[in-house]
């Protein structure tokens, strides 16, 4: 986990050196605003990766939440909140379906991604809508001392770390990814475990969608698509692995920051945006390559 943290510090150092304006309260806010949806999306993905699954639908799910927030939450809040709760419940049911029928999460969440996109288009066929006024206000709140994105990231990372790494049930949940048979033998329900983690993913997805709505101040059915790949990359770059239930909440947050800041770094270096994807791919390769070398020499 030290490697991602060092990479992040190096990136921040380079950014501040090239663009001193970014070091102010306002500058950090502008620079890091869009990490807010990203850290929650990464946390959602991490929850699912904990049990060895993957969620290919988190991006469109964010868009759906965004559309509901821009239509129902403002005009008919009760219906809006009920819909969001129902969505979290649906996520939990997806986890149950995967467990009970032993389905591959990659295809189930892929199918779900179509459903989320379709529902988003039904809720909000044309971009627009008006979110409830408290949402943009919340996102532009000038928190004391630390800018809002920094504050939120720190709190979320600490929260996730405590719950997943330092509680006994957290250990059990991570065990489902690492050694499901042993966990089942010990008397824990795999079904409940999966449903809990998927519900956490759904909740984080709702938080991410709400954050995105507050930043954009409007709704759009396709706004969240890129967050699927960003969330996967964030978890992996932060130290998570697909096999064995190895995840780290702090790492997921750091990973989200790294993936987002890569774009800003390119911009300040005046490198053409054509190469942005290459840089994101390159970061993944370098971080994982270094980790592999580490394991070779350390193992």
């Amino acid at each position: 986990m030290g490697l991602p943290a060092m990479a992040l510090i190096a990136m921040l150092g380079a950014i501040f050196a090239m663009q001193p304006r970014a070091m102010s309260y306002f500058g950090l806010t502008v620079l890091l605003n869009f990490t807010l949806p990203a850290i929650f999306a990464a946390m959602a993905q991490m929850a699912v990766i904990t049990v060895g699954d993957i969620d290919l639908g988190i991006g469109p799910f964010l868009s759906l939440v965004n559309c509901i927030a821009a239509t129902l939450l403002g005009g008919r809040p009760l219906l809006g909140w009920l819909s969001l709760a129902a969505l979290v419940g649906t996520y939990s049911l997806i986890g149950a379906l995967i467990q009970v029928r032993r389905l591959p999460s990659i295809v189930v969440t892929l199918g779900a991604s179509f459903v989320w996109l379709g529902l988003a288009l039904l809720v909000l066929p044309n971009p627009g809508g008006v979110p409830p006024s408290w949402l943009p206000a919340l996102l532009s709140w000038q928190s004391p001392l630390l800018p809002l994105p920094v504050l939120a990231s720190v709190l979320l990372a600490i929260c996730g770390e405590l719950l997943l790494m330092h509680t006994s049930y957290g250990v059990v949940l991570r065990g489902i990814g690492g050694n499901p048979r042993a966990v089942a033998h010990a008397g824990w329900s795999l079904l409940t475990g999966r449903m809990v983690l998927y519900a956490v993913a759904g909740t984080c997805g709702v938080a991410a969608g709400l954050a995105l709505t507050g930043l954009n101040t409007a709704g759009d059915a396709t706004v969240g698509t890129q967050y699927t790949l960003v969330s996967i990359a964030a978890v992996i770059v932060g130290g998570g692995e697909f096999v064995g239930g190895i995840v780290t909440p702090i790492g997921a947050v750091i990973g989200a920051w790294i993936m987002l800041l890569a774009g800003s770094l390119l911009s300040f270096l005046d490198i053409s945006t054509d190469w942005q994807l290459s840089v994101q791919g390159g970061i993944l390769i370098i971080v994982l390559g270094l980790r592999a070398l580490n394991r070779w020499s350390g193992a």
Binding site: P136, G219, S267
Partner: protein, 359 residues
Amino acid sequence: MKLKKFPIGAAIGAALLLVLPWAPAHAADVSTAQDGIALSNSYAGNSWRQQMLKMWSLASQRAVSRGIVAKTKVVNADNSAPQQASQIGDLTLEGWKAIVIDAASPTALNGVIQQACNAHIVVVVFDSLATAPCAYKVAYNYVDMGEMEANYVANKLGGKGNVLEVRGIAGTSVDNDIHQGIDQGFATYPGIKLVASVHGNWTQSIAQKEVAGILPTLPAVNAVVTQGGDGYGTYQAFKAAGRPTPLIIMGNRQDELALWKQLSAAPGGYPTFSLSSAPGVSSIAFWVAQQVLAGAKVPKTVNVPLLVIHQNNLGAWLKAVPEGGVSTPLYSQKWTQELIAANLSNSAPPASPIPNGVP
């Protein structure tokens, strides 16, 4: 005491007298030579957008070499609103005086645009507009475009016939507006039946695939209303299905114009017209931004006339477009000033200049 003040007052007065004749005669001459104008483009993946970027480069680099502005920069997003929003945030931090935007979403950039306005940056949106109230809008009237197409088709078909609609990317303001215009236009012609509607995403290959997929299930199609970048693909789909070529409204891509010329050579010709938005609109947007920075009076919405090509000047336009490219004029600062003046006085805009070579 009064005596002591007098020389200072005189000095100031003299200084003013010396400076005054050189003060700007009117506000529009505030120098923008120290300013930078950046372009944030949502998507560079089709020929229209690539031509748009080329026209921006031509206009902005000419301005830089003449010392009118200091610097310019282009950033492209991958059709993702959050990515473009991040990029606009970065531009805000970098200190650009004006940011020109071709938006990935009409609404998703509003937050970050307001943030830029709060930082006293001039924001101009064009082509794919954003609804943010503080931004200047260089706007085509796409609803008008749809109506013009519908009226032309209805007239040519004598008020009766089957029409296929090829739309753009679902959920964008451009697509919605053109569709609305077409609906409104056909509303007064009960004999016209809209038999199907597919999304071609302004890309010939996607248009071809979507039209090919639905064509077997349709009755005879007499005309196709399009949005641009889809005429050639539509033609290919009809040809592959062995169906007679219907009346297709053309856009301004070179392949569409060349196809039109080719079909016109056949007996009976091929009566249609081309209606489109010119990628050169980026050069208009550039000059609008520069004019706002220079302190000129500019209305919040600058309406731009659509590019209309009829059979009689098809040849001239075809000569001026590169293979695989998109027809467009390069709009100058002077032309843009005339356009702004026309907007302010609510009079007819100047005509689009036909370029006399590939720009």
